[in-house]
Amino acid sequence: MHTQPSAPDPDAILDDLCARHGTRQDQLLPLLHALQERLGYVPPHLVQPIAQHFNLSRAEVHGVITFYHDFRSAAPARCVVKLCRAEACQSMGGDRLLAHAQQALGCGLHGRSADGGVALEPVYCLGLCASAPTMTVDDQVFARVTPARFDAVLADVTHVQTAEAV
């Protein structure tokens, strides 16, 4: 079981970030990124205080959060695997890799593995198109990913995470 030693207080974190980012609207995306980096997602109950901070409507802030693929409104899985679905990766067996990943994790794109620990998401181009197919696991990038390499990387990551949780 993955437990966090001391759960961060989202409201306190937001207050801290608001103080650092100022109230000009062009700081909205940087603030959302910073918030998500700390909490893993943008909790829906913070939309109202964020809107108030920038003197925007809740609808405007909600609109921004939902427009961009990066921002999440719910806590992410422990580990997020993103497979590139763009043309260059398709040309090098990206579909086969996706099928393998779906089978290995037992879920589809936008889904999570049976234990909920690994999320599988699409990404459109990592700029590694001459070394396709490619993927990211959390912040790490991997290229020339064969099904065997996928399994090895994932075993590595889940092993490390299990060790951390113990």
Partner: protein, 520 residues
């Protein structure tokens, strides 16, 4: 004296284990008591060879690649650090003599892979900041005139003359102006912007500084997609060093001119590569495309006159100011002057960055540089210019890479990305993907793009399922016509390029009679 060993730190090398290779080299050298210095250079762009390890020798840098961590002990065993052994299975000889690299014309990418990307001293030792020093001796009019005379056109895809855009901003009234760098390189098959940012970030900083001085802007933003975290880190580190050393900030190089630079991270929206959507995003809004006019040059970021250029356009400015407009203009053909950083990717044996003067043919790139498909099967189609670019069949591969030549084929050169597909590719499936991608990434402002893309997926699904395909093809063409002429920007307006080129050149993949059958 210690031996210098280079291990690239570009994402393309990191993604295939370069950090592990560097660590193993350090450990192995320590174990053997050898005196070595590891430099993390950028990439040479010979991406199929990554991680490409280089050893400095009196004769030049000798390459080994692709090196895996498991190969390192064997390399030491073979004496690669003594540079006596050219017989190791991974030995490539002098890197600068590898034909793929030796035959290129590296202007924008003159330093990539050679230097330590974050070393400002290295940058200056290799010709860096000479362009800015020259620019500081010129009037803004003269800087703009030099860029105009060089013939440089926007490398982001639209190919608008850079000097003319700059002149509009220079002449625009107002004291608050901005330089915005579009580093939202979302097109599949393109990575040249990424290589600039990760392997030679100071050249972009220098180019933006020159732009600022030319048009009277004192602040610049680099909008980098979030899929490029390493680029963001490199740029932020380079900006900090340049600022600390007086190349950015108030009265840079004691010139009395000021320029400040900031990196902004995108949030995973492809449409933000469209310049007006990018400006909206920078302002903290949804990335919704703006109607033009007004041009961003007159009313851009925060409503102020704004130069918005692609990474490659800005990164090419320093060499133009260093060597002169004529030097740059001497490369190229027709109205496409200078060099094009071609990005060869997908199902190709030797993928990488190939900077050449405009005019080289697609076939030369695919065969002489690319060495054929990675799978060994015949190449069926190549998509040039990203997901909104046309698919070209073999009959069109003798076309020179030139903006006008491509336009005459109803294709686009775009940002210079080439994605290769072998004969196992299903062109109807790729056409469906083009529509699906448009549906996922459309900003939703105009109807042809927002609704058309979803209808496009449905129609192609029916064609592929064999449900009244002939009628559906008529519908698909009609739909593409609406998207082409009715969309607000290139997203909806160019999605028909891959769709219709696939349909026209490979009708059999859509269950239609092939060109030969129609003629018979």
């Amino acid at each position: 004296m210690s031996t210098r060993i280079y291990v690239p730190c570009d994402s393309a090398a990191l993604a295939v284990g370069a950090d592990a290779v560097a660590a193993r080299i350090a450990a192995e050298a320590a174990r053997r008591g050898l005196d070595i210095e590891i430099v993390r250079n950028g990439t040479r762009g010979l991406l199929w060879l990554e991680p490409l390890v280089e050893v400095d020798t009196p004769q030049g840098r000798i390459g080994f690649g692709p090196v895996e961590a498991a190969d390192v002990a064997g390399l030491f065993e073979a004496g690669f650090h003594d540079s006596v052994d050219g017989n190791h299975a991974l030995a490539l000889g002098l890197v600068e003599q590898i034909p793929y690299l030796a035959r290129q014309q590296r202007l924008t990418f003159a330093r990539a892979g050679i230097t330590d990307p974050l070393s400002l001293d290295d940058y200056e030792a290799h010709g860096g900041y000479r362009g800015l020093r020259n620019a500081l001796l010129k009037t803004p009019e003269e800087i703009v005139a030099t860029v105009t005379a060089s013939g440089l056109r926007g490398r982001g895809g639209a190919a608008f003359p850079t000097g003319i855009k700059w002149n509009t901003v220079r002449k625009a009234p107002g004291t608050e102006k901005y330089i915005v760098c579009n580093a939202d390189e979302g097109d599949s098959g393109t990575f040249a912007d990424r290589i600039v940012m990760e392997s030679d970030p100071y050249v972009l900083i220098e180019g933006m500084t020159i732009a600022g001085i030319a048009v009277g802007a004192t602040r610049g933003y680099i909008y980098v997609r979030s899929e490029y975290p390493h680029s963001i880190r490199q740029l932020e580190a380079a900006i900090a060093t340049a600022t600390q050393r007086g190349y950015l900030g108030r009265s840079l190089l004691s010139s009395g001119r000021s320029f400040e630079l900031e990196v902004r991270k995108g949030a995973g929206a492809y449409i933000c590569g469209e310049e007006t959507a990018l400006l909206e995003s920078l302002e903290g809004k949804r990335g919704i495309v703006r109607a033009k006019p007004p041009l961003p040059a007159l009313a851009g970021l925060f409503g102020k006159p704004t130069v918005i250029n692609n990474v490659l356009s800005l990164a090419t400015v320093p060499i133009i100011l260093d060597k002169g407009a004529q030097y740059y203009q001497d490369y190229g053909m027709g109205r496409s002057r200078g060099t094009l950083p071609i990005q060869l990717a997908g199902n190709i044996k030797h993928g990488g960055l190939i900077e050449l003067a405009f005019g080289v043919t697609l076939r030369e790139i695919l065969v002489e540089y690319g060495g054929g498909s990675a799978s060994g099967r015949p190449i069926k189609a190549v998509q040039v210019g990203g997901p909104l670019g046309a698919y070209l069949p073999e009959s069109q591969w003798d076309t020179p890479l030139d903006y006008e030549a491509f336009a005459s084929l109803w294709a686009v050169l775009g940002h210079g990305g080439i994605v290769v597909h072998d004969d196992s590719a299903d062109m109807a499936k790729l056409a469906r993907y083009a529509m699906e991608f448009c549906a996922v990434e459309s900003c939703g402002k105009c109807t042809p793009c927002r609704i058309g893309s979803t209808r496009g997926v449905e129609v192609i699904d029916k064609i592929r399922a064999g449900a009244q395909p002939a009628q559906q093809v008529v519908l698909l063409r009609d739909l593409c016509d609406t998207m082409l002429y009715g969309s607000l920007c290139a997203m909806g307006g160019m999605t028909p390029y891959p769709v219709l080129s696939a349909l026209n050149h490979f009708p059999e993949d859509f269950g239609q009679p092939s060109a030969g059958e129609r003629a018979a």
